[in-house]
Amino acid sequence: MFDSPFLYLSACSIKNRVLKRVRRLREPRYLIGAVVGVAYLYLAFFRRVRIRRGTAARSIGFPPEVLGAIQLAGGFILWLVVAARWIFPIPTQPLRLSGAERDFLLTAPVTRRRITSYKLLRSQIAVFLSTALMLVFAWNAVTSRWAFLLGMFLLLTTLRMHLLGVALSRATLRRAAGRPDPATIAAIAVIAVASAGALLALAPGVLAFARTRDLATALLTVHETASRPVTVAALLPFTLLVRPVFAAGPGSFLVAAWPAVVLALVNYAWVVRCEERAETSEATSELQTVEGKRSPPRPVYRRAPFALATHGRPEWALVWKNLIMLGRYANAAMLLRVAIPLAVFAIAVAGGRQRQLAAAAFPFAIVISCGLTVLGPYSFRNDLRQDLARLAVLKTWPVSGERLLWGEVLAPTIALTAIVWVCILLTAVLVLAAPPTALGWPAWLAIAASAAIVLPVVILAQVVVQNAAVVLFPGWVATGPSRPRGVEAMGQQMLMFAGSLLLLLVGILPGAVVGALVTFVGSYLIGWPAIFPGAAALAALLIAEIVLAVRLLGDVLDRTDPTAVEAG
């Protein structure tokens, strides 16, 4: 199966990849990133391993009934992941061949099955490394570290292969529009039986919760129904995969592992079979070749947010463009799945006056708003971080660097502001349901209004900082749709993150001081509502800083040579 040309290819690839990573450490940005990344990993994780090395492994030893419950819970989670993927497919290319693999391997006198086996086995390296990292996380919590390592590796490998099989089966069914093959039918049957068992176990618990509104009672009910032989049998394929992870020693591991190995081999055979069917049913476009390790996401056409006039400030052309980018790469279904339940929940709570639930959710909504403000700009990258790869195009436009930057930073700011404002509104609805005792309505109204002003300006500041990093240190920031990988890339990102936060805090400080003073003085006159003019003062100062920063960065952008960026 892993014949000499594939072994040779793998060995050379790994060797050259390592050499390339080592050689690039000659560049300061990678060396510093590597130092930071390694230091973080050591301090956060490996130091625990080192400290504990001299001591005997501490056996936690779960009681059998607890261990059984944990394994059952693990089986539930696995079932959920697999069932979700059958029902909600993620548009992905199942077995990606690079351009070179396509041109060399597909044209070579080797069977498709051998190529599939090669790709599957190559991918196990990454799975093993991930498992090793998990072991470091769980070093002090596991009974047998070897069992955990090998058991988790077996679990993740099998899961990954099964999910590959799901994607391939769906692709084949879509293309062939015919009857699925017996192996796929068997897989669907197993999932269906497991789903029936899981739902049988969960249903009484849901009903119990609806009746009693007590979570503990509901969980106990689920545990009782899940322990029945019918449910255990239905979820057996999943719990069999989980058992080796919690084995106490070599003997129990071997006993628990062999069914998991059988499952892994069955899934392997199924994937290979699916892949062959995909090829013969001409579903090869689902197995598209891509350049490089990861394929960039594909945009999906959706309506533009607004009609762009042919005259007016050029910045708005960029805002329009980047909002389109956001909409066409975002998965709207995912967003709706989060937004709709949240909105329904908030409205229902407000209408039904569920004080207890609202009081619990209220701080959660606050955290979401603040979290989006601070971390949202790292996820919403529809700005210069995406467009830097097109800098040569941008520089042919009759638009100054300053205006280009304004156009770039406004789009993610607008999108994030819209979400944060919705969160503030939902928070206000929750406050209606659970009125606070200490503060009156004017105070809460002032707080909400202040947040509505300040948070968007902080978001804008964050986005400007992110784009400033791109302009000033293009080699340090991940640009475009792909993400750099490796310890040095992680270290770079950590440095940039820390630097961005520090810069943001320094930038906010003057405004915060002025705002606090205004609020303090105003509070003697109008009480809590004085927070609003304080917030306005903070926002105004921060905007002034942002305007100045964009002007300076615009000059830098005007002088930036795209060749230097492209070479980096």
Binding site: P299, A317, I324, A392, T396, V399, D561, T563
Partner: protein, 250 residues
């Protein structure tokens, strides 16, 4: 219309472009040719305002590309060898974007005939991933022509086009010149350059080694040759290749 005065571009110690001077008048099509690494693309990128020359002056319709970049770029269009499109914008949205950037107020009237002329009207709602290489090239050309530039730069404009596309592209370039634009075409396809360019500038190692019409170059002592290929080879110091080519044909 397009003026380069002693333009130099340095990358560290490397002189990618070395004191290059030439001009392109309105209605003229000038071919910019040279060996690989001669500095053709660097020259075009400096003229387009993508890169700043290390020294020298570039003017587009009298506007210095460095001192008055906005005014210069407003009159200019650059079609690179590899079309750089936004993956998430449709054909019509690309043109809409360009219309706004260049303030083309009559874009609603100008876009449909432009799409028809370039034979991509039926692809107006397509994303770049749905277009063939040739269609992406046509879209890049459409974006370049929408604002009616007075200076046009083409870098390897025929790459990836089918025979009909090649013919259309040549017709488009000549039409732009007829309408008064100053056009620079950089290409390795010497027969194309011979066919559509009234004047040829040959550069090697960043320096201009020849500048003139085909007849003027052929009449130059030391550059006597039957066609542009031999002129090119001799001008760039490959006399032996030029001679062996002549002998082979005999």
């Amino acid at each position: 219309m397009i003026e380069l005065l002693a333009v130099t571009k340095l990358y560290g110690d490397l002189r990618a472009v070395d004191a290059l001077s030439f001009a392109v008048a309105r209605g003229e099509v000038v071919g910019l040719i040279g060996p690989n690494g001669a500095g053709k693309t660097t020259t075009l990128r400096c003229v387009a305002g993508i890169q700043r020359p290390s020294s020298g002056t570039i003017r587009i319709d009298g506007h210095d590309v460095v001192a008055e970049p906005i005014e210069a770029k407003r009159r200019l269009a650059f079609v690179p060898d590899e079309p750089q499109l936004f993956d998430y914008l449709t054909v019509s949205e690309h043109l809409r974007l360009v219309a706004r950037l260049y303030q083309v107020v009559d874009a609603d009237a100008a876009i449909p005939p432009l799409l028809e002329q370039l034979e991509i009207a039926d692809k107006r709602s397509a994303l770049p991933a749905e277009l063939s290489r040739g269609m992406r090239q046509k879209l890049a050309v459409a974006c370049a022509l929408l604002h009616r530039p007075v200076a046009l730069l083409f870098d390897e404009p025929l790459t990836g086009l089918d025979p009909l596309g090649i013919r259309r592209m040549k017709q488009t370039i000549l039409a732009c010149a007829r309408e008064g634009a100053a056009v620079i075409v950089s290409s390795h396809l010497l027969h194309l350059v011979e066919e559509i360019c009234g004047r040829i500038v040959i550069i090697a190692k960043g320096r201009k080694v020849a500048d003139g019409t085909l007849q003027e170059l052929a009449d130059h002592p030391g550059l006597a040759g039957a066609d542009l290929e031999e002129i090119f080879l001799r001008a760039t110091g490959h006399d032996a290749e030029a001679s062996s080519g002549q002998n082979a044909e005999k």
